[in-house]
Amino acid sequence: MNIEPTKLDKAVLLKVTGRMDAENAHEFEQACEQWISQGTRHLIAELEGLEYVSSMGLRSFLSVAKKLQSSSGSLILCGLHGLPRQVFEMTRLIGVFPVYESAQQAIAGL
């Protein structure tokens, strides 16, 4: 899994590519926590290149969303497609996050 951050005006965009599994899900959580500790309130996870997400990955997304929620922020998902989208839908966890088709739409929604 690779995480590429870009700082924007109102948020930080994290481009996540590859497989998010039990081995590396904590890396996503750590990357997010680093930005949260610097005062970032909105994180946009760009998941166009995400190929797989396991239960540990889901836990990481939820954990970050909970932390941001407590500071009136949000974890926004965009570009979610294919198998990872199916996983979010099957578990009904998709309802926890604001979801957009693209990063541009997510940024415009802030």
């Binding site: 039990a22 239960s55 889901l58 836990r59 969303a65 909970k66 309802g95 926890v96």
Partner: protein
Amino acid sequence: MFSPSIRSLAAEAGLSLLPVLIFLFALELIDTYKLLTLRRVLRTVAVGCGVALACYALNTAAYQTGLVSPGIWARSGAPFLEEFAKGLYIVWLLRRNRVGFMVDAAISGFAVGAGFALIENLTYIPGLSGTGLLTSAVRGLGTAMMHGGTTAIFGIVSVNLSEMRASRSWLMFLPGFAAAVFIHGLYNQPFWRPVAAAVVVLVMLPVLMSLIFWRSERALEKWLGTKLDKDIDLLQMMTAGSFSSSHAGRYLHSLENTFAPEVLGDMLSYLQLTLELSARAKGDLLRREMGFTVPPDPELPSQLKELRWLESQIGRAGKLALAPLVGHSRRDVWELEHLAAREASSAGTDH
């Protein structure tokens, strides 16, 4: 309005039971996954009250036979009878797959015991008149914690054994029952000073329960992750069209000569729906683990209805044939029951 003796009795009963109820609801609060609804906990307390009334009648009948002295009965007969009666509800919960883990077994057991103690203390405290408000409150509290603790231990040991041995045999209940009767009998022995016995119970029980909670939550977390990944993998194969070339798909093909084509079709639908419901049950648990609320799902009642219908179509043989794919352990069945119970609870109907 009330005589001083009734006011004093109410104060003693309140003092002895309030901490028990606080402890019970603290257990409910620290249950990360919110396995039990508050409504079910209260219902379980009410069951405990009913069990106590039944035991009161039976204990009185035993004394009246004159065959055994009240002292001997209190040390040997009563612990056996009372633990048996309280344990029956836990047995029912387990047999109906309403309990999945040590945490919900512990809360259910403790709630039955708390309800039992509520009635027992009301009948027991008047006999302590003259010992002082604080002494009778501590004794009442110790008795209440003992009743809650022994039934919780019965539930925990039974869940753990049936999970470890993957068995639904009645024998799985014996060690927990023996432990509960032993602790209860020991508590009732005359060599204890009642207040000392109460203090021992009050110190030991919270430590024991905390350890159990910690261990059970780790087990639940592990089970949740492993099983969810399995469900997801199988579902993805089914929806991506690569199922027939998978191990699971080949296994289903091997059943072609055993089941009629329409039954096999229903078995495939049953498999998919079970996996979908199973994945979403785990999604709900994940949400609660992280502190999110779970909104009601309008599609769930029809999906559960469809599942029951498919179950009736494929029969017991079909379910057994699918067991290697969907799993039929107590926990596998529990999660669907849990989903149905939550749905019934949000719809305001009983389950």
